[in-house]
Amino acid sequence: MNNEQLKEKIYSIDSTINIVEGKQYLELNVAPEDLSKTALMLKNNPDLSFDYLICLTGNDLPDAYAVVYHLESTKHNHVVVLKVKAANRENPTLDTVSNIWITADFHEREVYDLIGITFNNHPDMRRIFLDEEDWVGYPLRKDYTDNNIVVR
């Protein structure tokens, strides 16, 4: 399925999703409260069946903390990008998708560790790389400061 058909297909299922034609892939912008629902739909719909979560990226955008999901269907070989912005800037939370794609378990822990987005209902929401007890701050945030950062 090419992007055009995919777009129509997704519209036919849920017309409320905001779909943008990105540079490579279709980009689906969803509201944080719709995340679980949309993700489940993307995985379970037999015509879409996005069963493989390639990559989960946390972003510190100027207006909000966001998460980008790259999804692929191993059956139909099409890729879609799911984007969601956490509503709250102070205490960003999103729903977990680790119950839908298990690999998200580790990726969400990484996002929590480095960006600081908490995922609801995640089975094991701890830091994955940095020290759980004594690390302060989230390094990939733009406002993160550390005396050891070398500025060239």
Binding site: K23, D51, Y52, C55, W101, T103, E110, R127, F129
Partner: protein, 374 residues
Amino acid sequence: MEDIIINENQIKQEEYIVNMGPQHPSTHGVLRLKISLKGETVEHIEPHCGYIHRGIEKMCERLTYQQIIHLTDRLDYLSAHTNNEAVCLLVENALQIEVPERVKYIRTILDELTRLASHQLWWCAFGMDLGALTTYFYGLRDRELILDIFEETTGARLLQSFNTPGGLMNDIHPNFIKKVKEFIVHFRKKLPEYDELLTGNVILRERTNDIGLLTLEEAISYGVTGPSGRASGFACDVRKHHPYSAYDKVDFKEILYTKGDCFHRYKARVEEMWESMKIIEQLIDNIPEGDYAVKMKPIIKLPEGEYYQRVEAARGEFGVYVLSTGEKYPYRVKFRSPNFSNLSAINKLGAGHKIADLVAIGGSLDLVIPDIDR
């Protein structure tokens, strides 16, 4: 007398927890697996990573696109060239630069040589994990020839940084074609020896058959890619499904098995070595003439937007995500490292098996720790 009869449930059952790593011979680096044991049987594995976390993604936010490349070497250092290529392809695709055919061919050959070298090292290390120490030296002996080829052309044996946006740092060395051909002839003779020594061995088969089973659904859900995923039947070869460089011009087989145990992960890699040699043979005589790079502006600025580039590294799908604001520095870089996803399946694979099996499973996943920690 009543009160001294001990109910079995009242005995305090302490978990026998063993820390495998961060310094342990079979984790191939500083990975710590916290395993709870019951006798010899592993009940639960909890990976603790981050011992070699260097914040590469953060560093990339202050580097230009040319400079990022040398950091990707240091992720999965065994598929350095492939990782370099991912960044270069991303920049080229974003700027819509068509690189010369020659570059594509050379990149593909180097990719496959990298894959061969990586799988050879994996073979050595897998043998050693299982206690067959001799494999280590046979594998390294043959890998040395590939490293010599790399050294002659790229100037470095492991961390080549040979790619640059728009092409290569240098043209191939005049001896390159001859040496690669010699290597292929040599390795076609030596690879059957690997099979004789290890693949057929009854002890290895007993050790790996039915160990660490991963079904297709689980492999997809865990995002286990590369030979490990393909052993479960997950057709995830980026070279096949989303061809880049010269992969659309070559004919090769995607090695797929369905069982998904340690032995088939082993087999998938050994078979991939044969396929890699086939790919190189198809390309090595047909490298077209031309430039080894296109002229790029000294300062590369990607147009605003998000980019994602996937390549097939030796251990699975390597991805680079770049969020650009149009500056010369990327706003956000994320590396989708194959080992990180592969590691997440280790509890699923290892629970219920023996300690020795856990070592075999770790070996069959072929984890490279700097790639996990980034």
